[in-house]
């Protein structure tokens, strides 16, 4: 029996066709290798590091644990879909401003996780922020600058309301 499948994927609002792919490919693999969306990173391939964090029907998950073919029919959001017209979101800008980026490998996943957190909890406590990013491993920064970036976003968003 053939283990190859063809299906459509809707990513960041655009339709893509995946043709004749091995059925076992993860969504992460499909995003990176077939659709050229390399913002999601493939570090651990077992859902431990969060560098592949994406939104599937508005729910934050690890793309490495989603079967590409099973994501057909869902709305997929990746880091490339944040912001518009090449402008950084406030979360991305805060990462720049607070020097929260060193090697940058964890950064897209963290940006996704923090956007997801603040979309659901505009004023999280520090413990809530730490729990929200507990699925994103950073080996460079020690997280201090990352927490400062979240603080900056919360401050600026509160001031704007």
């Amino acid at each position: 029996m053939s283990q190859h499948v063809s299906y459509r994927l809707r990513v960041n609002g655009s339709e893509h066709v995946v043709e004749d792919a091995w059925q076992g490919e993860s969504l992460l693999y499909v995003l990176r290798e077939r659709l050229g969306l390399t913002g999601s990173k493939d570090a651990c391939l077992q859902g431990e590091c969060g560098s592949c964090s994406v939104l599937v029907d508005d729910v934050l998950v690890c793309a490495c644990l989603v079967l590409g073919a099973d994501a057909s029919g869902a709305d997929i959001g990746t880091v490339e879909g944040l912001g518009s017209h090449g402008e950084l979101t406030d979360v991305q800008q805060a990462f720049v401003d607070t020097a929260a980026v060193q090697c940058g490998f964890c950064t897209p996943g963290l940006i996704m996780a923090i956007h997801d957190l603040l979309d659901h909890a505009p004023r999280p406590t520090e413990v809530e922020v730490r729990e929200a990013i507990s699925g994103n491993l950073c080996r460079c920064t020690g997280y201090g600058r990352i927490l400062a970036a979240v603080e900056q976003v919360m401050t600026l968003r509160a001031a704007a309301t």
């Binding site: 076992g24 859902g47 964090s53 998950v61 644990l65 079967l67 073919a69």
Partner: protein
């Protein structure tokens, strides 16, 4: 088609019956890891993402029926969490937000790891698991469904549809130790369930045996020792009973921890659970 996306339980059962070697895919937190590392190559895959009825829950009198497709995040929602606090507490300790958004109650049961975090809660609550196949439905007590390390009596073609547990009638606690505060497989865990009307105390231990352990001696002693009118248990009795709970553990040394540490941690957590409760 070797990846199927059914929308109803009936369609799932038909797919399992019709496709030899079909494997179920819920949250993917177990199966996809194996696929990613080449340890499993399912002949075909039946995705459960679209089967909305599996993620539903309902109250039936003194029981709550939890859909097997409920994710850890959904188990933490206010309403089900109020009815089964220990399960919501356990859910909070699993993985990360990304993992909690994907992993399911049914998957935790089907994987049947000795360290599965829903399992000690289900054992403490004497949960009943509802399974379905084209041949019909059956209800199986959780302790009969899981028979060893990652071994269950789920038959080919069967889908876990729901889990039935009693609605909480007293305090519940779930404590877990891991090598970090998040993203960890349990080193060991203690679940405490108190049923005030029944005047019963249940202890279930995770990750300290091939399957979940119920501490029947400690449970008997605790039920007899609690002053049920006042809802109190003397601190020295909490300590004594915690020792009995730890004695019931059957921990091993492995890459995560040692038997000695696990037994000690069980005792500490059992004591904390009792002191917090009474």
């Amino acid at each position: 088609m070797s990846v199927l996306q059914p929308s109803t339980v009936e369609e799932v059962l038909g797919a399992l019956d019709g496709e030899p070697g079909a494997e179920l895919l819920a949250g993917g937190t177990d199966l996809m890891v194996e696929v990613n590392f080449g340890h499993r190559r399912p002949a075909s895959i039946v995705g459960l993402r679209g089967v909305e009825e599996l993620a539903a829950w309902r109250r039936e009198g003194d029981e709550i029926v939890l859909g097997a497709g409920m994710t850890w995040t959904q188990l933490r929602q206010d309403e089900p969490a109020a009815l089964v606090p220990a399960l919501a507490a356990a859910a909070r300790t699993v993985g990360s937000p990304q993992i909690r958004n994907a992993g399911t109650l049914g998957g935790n049961i089907a994987t049947a790891s000795p360290a599965g975090d829903a399992l000690p809660v289900l054992y403490a609550l004497d949960a009943t698991v509802e399974l379905a196949s084209v041949a019909g439905r059956r209800l199986v007590p959780i302790e009969e469904l899981i028979i060893g390390v990652k071994r269950t009596t789920i038959a080919p073609g069967e889908l876990i549809v729901a889990v039935r547990v009693p609605v909480a009638r007293g305090p519940q606690e779930f404590l877990k130790v891991g090598t970090r505060n998040a993203m960890v497989i349990s080193v060991c865990s203690v679940t405490l369930v108190v049923d005030r009307p029944d005047r019963s105390v249940r202890f279930a231990l995770g990750a300290v045996g091939p399957t979940i352990i119920r501490c029947t001696e400690a449970e008997r002693r605790a039920a007899a020792a609690v002053d049920w009118e006042a809802g109190e248990l003397a601190p020295e009795k909490c300590v004594e009973i915690a020792g009995m709970v730890a004695a019931a553990a059957r921990p091993i040394d492995d890459h995560r921890s040692t038997a000695e540490y696990r037994r000690r941690a069980i005792e500490v957590m059992a004591r904390r659970a009792l002191l917090r409760t009474f």
